[in-house]
C-alpha cells in the first residue's frame, strides 16, 4: 500500500500548472483531492513519475451564482457541495448526489473536478452531470472551452479533456418551477462506489405531462450514459405508474453492461431498471411538490 516514488509539484496558479504539465508530459499527472488517484497509486495500478497538485489554486474552489446558473469550481469538495445552501436551493440534485459519495473522509477531501477528470465508470457525479445537462470548462495555456456533459464522457476512464487541459469549472442550470430531481444508488458494500446510480431531472408542464426529462445512469457500463430510451418513453406523456414501469424497463437498452466478481452484468441490468423506476418516482413526487 505504498506508492512508487514520484516527484511532487505544487503550482499556485493555473499558469504554473500548465507549465509543469508541459515539462512533465505524459509522465505527469494532475491531482486535486487525490481520492481517486492516490488509492490507485497505493495499489500501484497507477505510477505517475510526477504529481502536479493543483489544490492550492484558490480560484478553482468557489461555488457561485452566475447568469441564471451556478458555477462550481473544480476544486469544490464533495462536502462543500453537500453543504452549499445555494445549491440546495437552486440545484438540489448536486447536494443529494454529494451526500451519497464514499464516506465523510472522502467527501472532505475529494473534489468534483477530480472525480470528473478521473471518470471512474462507477463514480456518482457523472450521472448527475448528465441529468443536469451541465457543461464542463477545460482550460489550457491556449484558451478555454466549454464541453457539454453528453460529449464529455468518452469511454472507460477516458474524457474529452486534452492532455494540456485542466478541468476548471462546471456550470449547471438553476432548477425551473415544477421540476423534481433525484439521485438514487446502491452502494458497493466495500468501496462505496455505485453498483448503479441513477440521476433524474424531471419537469412537468402545467397540464401534468412530462415537459422535460433527463436521466443519467452510472455504474452499469464502461462509462456513465444518458438513458435516452427512458426519456423517450415519458417525454410529452402523462407519467402514470404503468408508463414509469415501461420507461424503467428500457433503462439499459443498447448498453453493454459491466460484470465483475461482485455483480454479474445481468444483475447490474436488473439493478439499473429497479433504481431507475425508484428515481423516476421520487423526482416525480418532488416535481408535484408532494415529496
Amino acid at each position: 500500500m505504498i506508492p512508487e516514488a514520484f516527484e511532487y509539484h505544487c503550482p499556485t496558479t493555473l499558469e504554473e500548472a500548465w507549465q509543469a504539465m508541459a515539462e512533465t508530459g505524459e509522465d505527469g499527472k494532475i491531482v486535486a483531492g487525490g481520492h481517486s488517484l492516490i488509492p490507485m497509486m497505493k495499489l500501484r495500478l497507477a505510477s505517475p513519475k510526477y504529481l502536479i497538485d493543483i489544490g492550492r489554486i484558490e480560484e478553482l474552489r468557489n461555488i457561485r451564482e452566475e447568469d441564471g446558473g451556478i458555477e462550481i469550481g473544480a476544486l469544490a469538495t464533495h462536502h462543500q457541495i453537500e453543504a452549499s445552501d445555494l445549491l440546495k436551493l437552486l440545484c438540489p440534485l448536486l447536494p443529494e448526489t454529494a451526500s451519497e459519495i464514499g464516506d465523510v473522509q472522502v467527501r472532505n477531501m475529494g473534489t468534483i473536478g477530480g472525480s470528473l477528470a478521473h471518470a471512474d465508470p462507477a463514480a456518482d457525479w457523472p450521472a448527475a452531470i448528465l441529468a443536469l445537462e451541465a457543461e464542463i470548462e477545460a482550460r489550457s495555456a491556449h484558451g478555454a472551452r466549454w464541453i457539454k456533459a453528453a460529449d464529455y464522457f468518452v469511454d472507460l476512464m477516458t474524457t474529452a479533456l486534452e492532455p494540456d487541459e485542466i478541468l476548471t469549472r462546471i456550470r449547471v442550470p438553476a432548477v425551473h418551477a415544477h421540476t423534481g430531481q433525484a439521485y438514487l444508488k446502491l452502494h458497493h458494500p466495500a468501496s462505496g462506489y455505485a453498483m448503479v446510480g441513477v440521476a433524474v431531472c424531471l419537469t412537468l408542464a402545467e397540464s401534468g405531462v412530462v415537459a422535460k426529462l433527463a436521466v443519467g445512469l452510472t455504474g452499469a457500463g464502461a462509462k456513465a450514459v444518458r438513458a435516452v430510451a427512458v426519456e423517450e418513453v415519458l417525454s410529452g406523456k402523462t407519467p402514470k405508474d404503468s408508463r414509469l414501469n415501461e420507461a424503467a424497463a428500457v433503462a439499459t437498452q443498447g448498453m453493454e453492461l459491466n460484470g465483475d466478481l461482485y455483480a454479474s452484468a445481468e444483475y447490474r441490468g436488473h439493478l439499473a431498471r429497479v433504481y431507475t423506476r425508484r428515481a423516476l418516482a421520487k423526482a416525480l413526487e418532488r416535481a408535484r411538490g408532494t415529496a
Binding site: 499527472k29 481517486s36 488517484l37 490507485m40 495499489l43 500501484r44 495500478l45 497507477a46 505510477s47 505517475p48 478521473h118 471518470a119 465508470p121 462507477a122 469511454d155 472507460l156 476512464m157 477516458t158 457500463g221 464502461a222 453493454e256 459491466n258 460484470g259 465483475d260 466478481l261 461482485y262
Partner: protein
C-alpha cells in the same frame, strides 16, 4: 471472462482477411503496440503499451494463430504479462459476407486475467478488454 461480439466493416471479406493476417496491419491497429514480430515457431512476439486513464502498463506477449481457414476463420491464443499482472486467453474469429458488400467479424473467446490488475482492478477488467477490442477494430478499419 468471456469476450465476444460482432463488428461490421464496409470492406470485402478478402481485404479484411488480408489485414487480419498482416503483421504490419495488426501492429498498427493494436492499441499501443510497440512491437509485433514473427518468431521462428510461427507465433508472434508483441509488446503493447496500454494506458487507460491513470492506469498505464507495458505488456509483453505471445500471439499464436491456429486452424487458419482463409478467408474465413482462425483461432488465436494469447499470453501476456506485465507489471500489472498476466492475461491468458483463447478465441476464434469468424469472417462472413454481410450481404451489402461488407464483412461481419464475429469474435468470441475466454480470457483469464491474474495478478495485481485482477485482484484490485477486477471491476475494470471487462470494460478495459472491450475498449481495447473496439479500438483495435476501429484502427483496422481506418487502414482500409
Amino acid at each position: 471472462m468471456t469476450i465476444e461480439g460482432t463488428y461490421n466493416i464496409a470492406a470485402p471479406q478478402e481485404t479484411v482477411w488480408q489485414h487480419l493476417m498482416s503483421p504490419e496491419s495488426l501492429a498498427r491497429a493494436l492499441p499501443g503496440c510497440e512491437r509485433l514480430e514473427p518468431a521462428p515457431d510461427g507465433s508472434f512476439q508483441a509488446v503493447l503499451k496500454i494506458g487507460i486513464g491513470a492506469v498505464k502498463g507495458t505488456y509483453h506477449g505471445r500471439i499464436e494463430l491456429a486452424d487458419v481457414i482463409p478467408p474465413e476463420s482462425y483461432r488465436m491464443k494469447v499470453e501476456g504479462k506485465g507489471a500489472g499482472g498476466f492475461v491468458k486467453g483463447e478465441g476464434t474469429l469468424n469472417l462472413s459476407e454481410n450481404g451489402q458488400g461488407g464483412t461481419t467479424i464475429q469474435y468470441s473467446g475466454e480470457a483469464q486475467v491474474g495478478g495485481l490488475i485482477a485482484s484490485v482492478g477486477q471491476r475494470l477488467v471487462q470494460a478495459t478488454a472491450r475498449q481495447v477490442v473496439n479500438q483495435f477494430f476501429q484502427a483496422l478499419v481506418h487502414q482500409m
